[in-house]
Amino acid sequence: MNLWLVTSALMFAIGAFGVLTRRTAILVFLSVELMLNSANLALIAFAKMYGSLDAQTVALFVIAIAAAEVAVGLGLIVAIFRRRESTGVDELQGLKG
């Protein structure tokens, strides 16, 4: 039992909970960030266990990826806001069936 792995799992689950319960796009996305970081925590914990610099490097990449994702994601949210004047996700259900 590794404390950080447990913490990471809990954070991941909390993030998932946030994705399901948050009702604006920004907050949903914020929860996703939480999940990404929980994965990073797990990576670092494993890196410590295995003494692997690879994992730390990968965590670095993850941060870069997250940054890229955030850029596009926030851009999208802004663009939608410009059109809809809202960031709520529940209103977006014109497409269904």
Binding site: A16, V19, L20, T21, R23, V28, V89, D90, L92, Q93, G94, L95, K96, G97
Partner: protein, 611 residues
């Protein structure tokens, strides 16, 4: 030389093809002449071949293991002579009878087809080949009964004949199936040879015999498949004479005779043959009394006489059955053609209530009719007398099935036969003419064949005289029939019986002659005659309990089949329903989707950790 045998079949078949294709363009007597000439050619060819000791011809493996084989021996030779001989005469007669009919050439085409098929039937040395002829004559019969197809009744009758025959044919087919399973061959001589050389009787032989017999029942209009024959009188009279009296309907008897080696081994089936024959004989005789159609009376008499033949076959007296076939061919053809002459004379009238007094108008036909009626009634020394007497004799002595019951009942039937044959003669020829036409005698071309037939009806019986006279026919047929040993009665007894049957016939004839000249019939008779006119309501019973329910079931199945499709459609609807339910899962909510995704993930993961 064997191919000449095939030629006997091919000649009339050629006539059928020629007349069928080009007959319409020929002038009137030509089609009749061609047709008659080809049948005559067949007759001559057949006779020459028969005189030369018979012939065989075959295509081996026509179907795998089944040869298309023909065999002209004494048995088939006799039939060949009857078919082509009587057939030729009737062809000639028809030239006159069908004069000026729009379908003149078509008629002769059909007749030639019939002859070809009938020859196939009798010459066959393989049950399959026989079956070809068997159904072929059925087709010809169908075409000829419905010859005047514009009339719905005729068309219906034709159809009925074919369908009822098919019931019997199914038996024939299944019988062949069983024979094939038992013997691995359907060659008649081969099966006969196997049956002769093997002492043991294969199990199932009785069933095979019975199934074949079912075919004979259909074709020869025995009880219970007799209903088609009276209706078949809807065809032109020569047809009735040729097909429904002289030849085709006796095919059943011929089948039994051909398969005598088989039936001789299964007396229990033979007993059934005799019983059904007896029933038919009685039924036909009783039904003949009430008929008002000149041809239907003769038709029922045919039914009855066929019953006689079956009784003989059931007794194992195959030569006697064939003897009766022979004599019957002559006198019954004669009766029909005399009837045809009457109808011809009256411009198509067939109702005997509008006849009478023809004695005066038809100076030659009257003699034909008289000879025919007397021969049918068993007037001593005429052909019918000898053959009928032989049948009565066989019911007493011939085999294990012989019994006094048969004898007594058959004798009574013979008595009835004599009576109704007189009824026919008396009502048509004696008394006053009750119609409005101007009766006239038939042309020569119709009378000439009747002369010959009348001669036959008088004298042909002498080839099968009882002992101690020489019996030409039995000896002639013996090599081709199964032989049954039986204890012969003393000559005295034999001749006593001859005397009894002669007396019974004379009594019947006389009584009929007197009885049917009465102006007013007794009530009991009137009541009987009414039931008889409707053939004891057999048709109605069949229609009510068999035909109509089956027809309704057909419609029901047809409609039900659409329902079946609906059933499959229901399956489709169900699938589509599930589909739209599933599609409704796409609610459009992102969070719902995320939930679905995560729940799916969690479930998979739970499986992952718990497995």
């Amino acid at each position: 030389m064997g191919w000449l045998l095939l030629l006997t079949i091919l000649l009339p078949l050629l006539g059928f093809v020629l007349l069928g294709l080009f007959g319409k363009r020929m002038k009137e007597p030509l089609p009749g002449v061609i047709a008659s000439g080809l049948v005559l050619a067949s007759l001559v060819l057949g006779a020459v071949l028969l005189a030369g000791g018979g012939a065989q011809w075959a295509i081996p493996d026509w179907l795998p293991g089944i040869a298309f084989s023909l065999n002209l021996d004494h048995l088939s030779g006799l039939m060949l002579l009857i078919v082509t001989g009587v057939g030729f005469l009737i062809h000639v007669y028809a030239i006159g009878y069908m004069h000026a009919d729009a379908g003149f050439s078509r008629f002769f085409a059909y007749l030639n087809l019939f002859i070809a098929m009938m020859l196939t039937l009798v010459l066959a040395d393989n049950y399959v080949v026989m079956f070809i002829g068997w159904e072929g004559v059925g087709l010809a019969s169908y075409l000829l009964i419905g010859f005047w197809y514009q009339d719905r009744v005729n068309a219906d009758s034709a159809r009925k004949a074919f369908i009822v025959n098919r019931i019997g044919d199914l038996g024939f087919l299944l019988g062949m199936g069983l024979l094939w399973a038992m013997f691995g061959t359907l060659g008649i001589s081969e099966i006969n040879a196997k049956l002769e050389e093997n002492l043991f009787i294969p199990a199932g032989l009785g069933l095979a015999a019975f199934l074949l017999f079912a075919g004979a029942v259909g074709k020869s209009a025995q009880v219970p498949l007799m209903v088609w024959l009276p209706d078949a009188m809807a065809g032109p009279t020569p047809v009735s004479a040729l097909i429904h009296a002289a030849t085709m309907v006796t095919a059943g008897v011929y089948l039994l005779a051909r398969s005598s080696f088989l039936y001789i081994n299964v007396p229990e089936v033979s007993l059934w043959i005799a019983i059904l024959g007896l029933l038919t004989a009685i039924y036909g005789a009783l039904s003949a009394f009430g008929q008002q159609d000149i041809k239907r009376i003769v038709a029922y008499s045919t039914l009855s006489q066929l019953g006689f033949m079956f009784v003989a076959a059931g007794m194992g007296a195959y030569w006697i059955a064939l003897f009766h076939v022979l004599t019957h061919a002559f006198f019954k053809a004669l009766l029909f053609m005399a009837s045809g002459s009457v109808i011809h004379a009256l411009g198509g009238e067939q109702d005997i209530r509008k006849m009478g007094g023809m004695w005066r108008y038809l100076p030659q036909t009257r003699w034909h009719a008289l000879v025919g009626a007397l021969a049918l009634g068993g007037f001593p020394l005429l052909s019918g007398f000898w053959s009928k007497d032989a049948i009565l004799y066989s019911t007493l002595f011939y085999s294990v099935n012989s019994s006094v019951v048969f004898y007594v009942l058959l004798l009574a039937t013979a008595f009835l036969t004599a009576m109704y044959s007189m009824r026919w003669f008396v009502t048509v020829f004696l008394g006053q003419y009750r119609g409005h036409e101007h009766p006239h005698e038939s042309p020569k071309v119709m009378l000439f064949p009747n002369h010959l037939l009348a001669l036959g009806a008088v004298f042909i019986g002498f080839i099968g005289l009882p002992e101690p006279f020489p019996n030409l026919l039995e000896g002639f047929l013996a090599p081709n029939l199964a032989h049954l040993e039986y204890e012969k009665p003393s000559l005295t007894l034999e001749w006593t019986l001859v005397l009894i049957s002669a007396l019974v016939a004379l009594a019947g004839l006389y009584l009929g002659y007197r009885f049917f000249q009465q102006k007013v019939m007794p009530t009991w008779y009137a009541r009987f005659a009414q039931a008889s006119e409707h053939s004891f309501y057999v048709d109605q019973v069949y229609n009510t309990f068999l035909v109509n329910p089956l027809k309704s079931l057909g419609s029901l199945l047809f409609d039900g089949d659409k329902g079946l499709l609906g059933g499959f459609g229901w399956l489709g609807t169900l699938t589509a329903g599930i589909g739209s339910l599933l599609a409704r899962l796409e609610t459009g909510y992102i969070r719902f989707y995320a939930a679905g995704l995560l729940i799916g993930a969690v479930l998979l993961l739970i499986w992952g950790v718990t497995r």
